[in-house]
């Protein structure tokens, strides 16, 4: 590829905060440039890696804009191109690598200065990308290619799962496909296990693409490493999904904290939520059943008076509880504890996908996800503390995947839900989140700031964009990159696990060939082919 060392121009001005201006050579056309592309700047003592964040047209003499030359004459145009009229690039430098041996070993470091005047600027080559992002190995997983390049972009997954992560983007931009990809990556290359709250039943067995064709999901590809749990047995059976466990939840497992989270979806008032705590204290574990079965009688009125609960509040609460009780997977008593089962699988290193089947109602999703996660969180916390005390191995890192994250992590409930707690501090207890959402602005700022690596697909709402990019250096530059992403299958990834932000196209997922890439061994290949037939 001759483009590999293609010179673009020279640095003419700039600052560390705002990025550097690059004047294009006359041989490089502005039309070949694209926001989001990588360039290298050969400084005197060090090399810089940067991303094009803007492309401008410049003229040397303002008269040219007032009385433009005769553009029908190719000679004049050719002479003026690159001299009197020229293109400039705005490049945000992100990383630098020194020329001496020690810095070569250390690898790329964040920039703390800018290149000198007139340093030559080249398009980044495949080797440069590899130097920055590393090549595919036992830790790095190939997630896609940088825009306009052929290089494999790799992500260090053990590093990724050390923090909570987020995948954002409008609906239909490719979040689900990328999440599948990332889950496969984690499954293959990190020690972490995943618990996936699969609202639309698309990660476990199979999903569909926008054209309606079936796409294999985790269980089909890695049957020994994935267990599918379901809330809706009938639905799973109809879809011919081989499920490992049917989740049932007892009334007595629902705690007052769960109701707090459901306040919005159940339309509960503030006093009604307060009343829940009182009821819990009064009736103990079985409060839900007891309260919802209270009749309109003198005894009840007496009780309400005693607890100082207003009658309308009580009615509001009862309506809410009735909604919950209508959820078919809830039963008065469940002998088989789903949390224990999930943990058993997770301990064996088997990833658990919980399908919601027909219960895609947000109430069900929030309730179940919160309820299970809280218990798992408690277990993990205990185990980690125990491991610390006894100097034994801590539990296996766990990544919990949630969709519609803004429902769990919005500013009103983020401080109360378990997900808020996990996002803020659970890294210490080896639990992190993978948050998938289309309205990042709905997520609490504090939670957002704790998300390590963010992958964002196309977003067009300003508040969403601001919230995703909050706190990152070079925000304005990235904003222009983000705004120019294609509406499908192009994303920007930045944060903890990547040395510098990169706009990329996720690798192909969904064809027979793409499945083979995930499982290189021959035996597996055969399995896949059989499955495919």
């Amino acid at each position: 590829m001759t483009e590999e060392t293609k010179r673009l121009g020279i640095v003419t001005s700039g600052s560390l905060n705002k990025g550097v201006e690059v004047r294009l050579d006359s041989s490089a056309s502005v039309e070949d440039m694209a926001v989001g592309r990588y360039v290298t700047i050969e400084g005197e003592k060090r090399r810089f890696f940067g991303m094009i964040s803007d492309v401008n047209l410049g003229v040397i003499d303002q008269k040219l804009t007032v009385t433009p030359p005769d553009v029908s004459d190719p000679f004049t145009t050719e002479v003026l191109a690159g001299t009197s009229t020229y293109g400039t690039l705005h490049v945000s430098p992100y990383l630098t690598i020194g020329g001496d041996a020690t810095s070569l070993i250390e690898g790329p470091q964040p920039v703390k200065t800018v290149p000198t005047h007139f340093s030559p600027v080249n398009l980044a080559s495949d080797q440069d990308i590899e130097l920055v992002f590393g090549s595919e190995d036992e830790k790095r997983f190939y997630i896609g290619t940088p825009l306009d390049m052929e290089t494999k972009l790799c992500l260090n997954l053990p590093e990724l799962v050390k923090r909570s992560n987020g995948i954002f983007g409008k609906s239909g931009t490719g979040k689900t496909f990328f999440t599948r990809l990332l889950l496969i990556g984690m499954l293959q290359k990190s020690k972490a296990v995943n618990l996936i709250f699969d609202m639309h039943s698309e990660y476990g067995w199979e999903g569909r693409n926008e054209e309606g064709q079936k796409v294999k999901a985790l269980k089909q590809l890695f049957s020994s490493k994935v267990a599918v749990f379901t809330l809706d047995e009938e639905n799973s059976r109809r879809r011919r999904v081989s499920t490992d466990f049917v989740v049932r939840i007892g009334y007595d497992e629902i705690e007052a904290e769960d109701m707090v989270l459901l306040r919005q979806t159940l339309n509960l008032t503030e006093p009604a939520v307060e009343a829940v705590y009182q009821m819990r204290r009064r009736f103990g574990r079985n409060w839900l059943q007891e309260v919802s079965e209270l009749k309109d009688s003198d005894e009840t009125r007496e009780l309400l008076k005693e607890l100082n609960i207003h009658e309308s509040t009580f009615q509001n609460l009862q309506r809410g509880l009735a909604t919950i009780r209508r959820l078919p997977f809830l039963e008065p008593h469940v002998p088989d504890n789903p949390v224990r089962h999930i943990l058993e699988y997770l301990d064996q290193g088997i990833n658990v996908v919980l399908e919601f089947g027909r219960y895609t109602d947000i109430t069900a999703y929030i309730l179940v996800a919160n309820l299970l996660t809280r218990r798992i969180h408690n277990q993990y916390r205990e185990r980690t503390e125990k491991a610390q005390g006894e100097d034994t191995a801590p539990p296996r890192p766990l990544v919990i995947t949630i969709e519609e994250a803004h429902k769990f992590l919005n500013p009103e409930v983020a401080t109360q839900t378990i997900f808020g707690v996990i996002a803020r501090e659970m890294r210490k207890y080896n639990v992190t989140l993978l948050v998938i959402d289309q309205r990042p602005s709905g997520i609490d700022d504090e939670v957002m700031s704790q998300i390590g690596t963010k992958t964002t697909f196309f977003l067009d709402n300003n508040r969403d964009i601001d919230s995703v990019l909050a706190g990152i250096s070079g925000k304005n530059e990235l904003k222009s990159v983000l705004a120019k992403l294609a509406s499908k299958q192009q994303a920007l990834i930045f944060g903890h696990a990547v040395p510098m932000p990169v706009a990329f196209q996720p690798r192909e997922y969904g064809s027979a060939a793409s499945y083979k890439d995930f499982i290189p061994s021959e035996q597996a290949e055969k399995d896949i082919e059989e499955l495919w037939e």
Partner: protein, 197 residues
């Protein structure tokens, strides 16, 4: 140095330019052509910027003689002495010099010598000289009776003749000018219009 054509002899010289008289009337080299004159150690290069044909004696102006002649040639045939009473001169602005083997595109330490022979440069020399365009800067900045646009355009046209790819040469020269004349687009435009390939 190949086929160099002698075109005259220096009769007046200064640091920045020299005047040469042609051996034959009306035989001055074209406007903008590259000429050279030698010195024992330095070879001076100049670009022809002006040519004149005047009476030998400053006080005696030629008078109209063709009233009874049918052709212009007839006038000279009828008065053959005319050719001896008139002289053709041309002026060249010094744009560089060669000292030893190196070619410099800046003014020489000393002006040309009187009676130095003046030669028209061979295509090879023109090619060699036009490898660098820094002489254009001298042309832009020297005050001459001809406008710099005319002179630059003429010299570039002349030089481009020796190149196979005339256009490429002119484009490169044009780009050089565009940088030098960055603050004066009108002047650049005037030159470009005159050298359009």
């Amino acid at each position: 140095m190949g086929e160099t054509q002698r075109v005259g002899e220096v009769i007046e010289a200064s640091t920045t330019d020299f005047v040469a008289q042609c051996y034959e009337l009306y035989q001055s080299p074209p406007l903008g052509s590259l000429v050279k004159t030698k010195d024992p150690d330095v070879e001076l290069y100049g670009i022809v910027y002006n040519a004149t044909t005047t009476s030998l004696e400053p006080g005696r102006r030629p008078i109209a003689r063709g009233k009874d002649e049918t052709t212009e040639e007839g006038i000279y045939q009828a008065s053959p002495q005319l050719l001896k009473l008139l002289k053709s001169e041309f002026r060249a602005v010094v744009v560089g010099h060669r000292q030893g083997d190196t070619l410099h595109h800046y003014l020489p330490p000393k002006p040309a010598r009187i009676h130095g022979f003046v030669y028209l440069c061979s295509p090879q020399e023109v090619k060699e000289f036009s490898q660098s365009f820094s002489f254009l800067n001298i042309l832009i900045n020297t005050r001459l009776p001809v406008s710099p646009e005319e002179l630059i355009a003429a010299s570039l046209r002349q030089m481009s003749e020796v190149y196979e790819d005339r256009r490429a040469f002119l484009v490169t020269a044009g780009k050089e000018l565009a940088i030098s004349l960055s603050g004066n687009f009108n002047q650049l435009k005037a030159i470009l219009e005159r050298i359009k390939a």
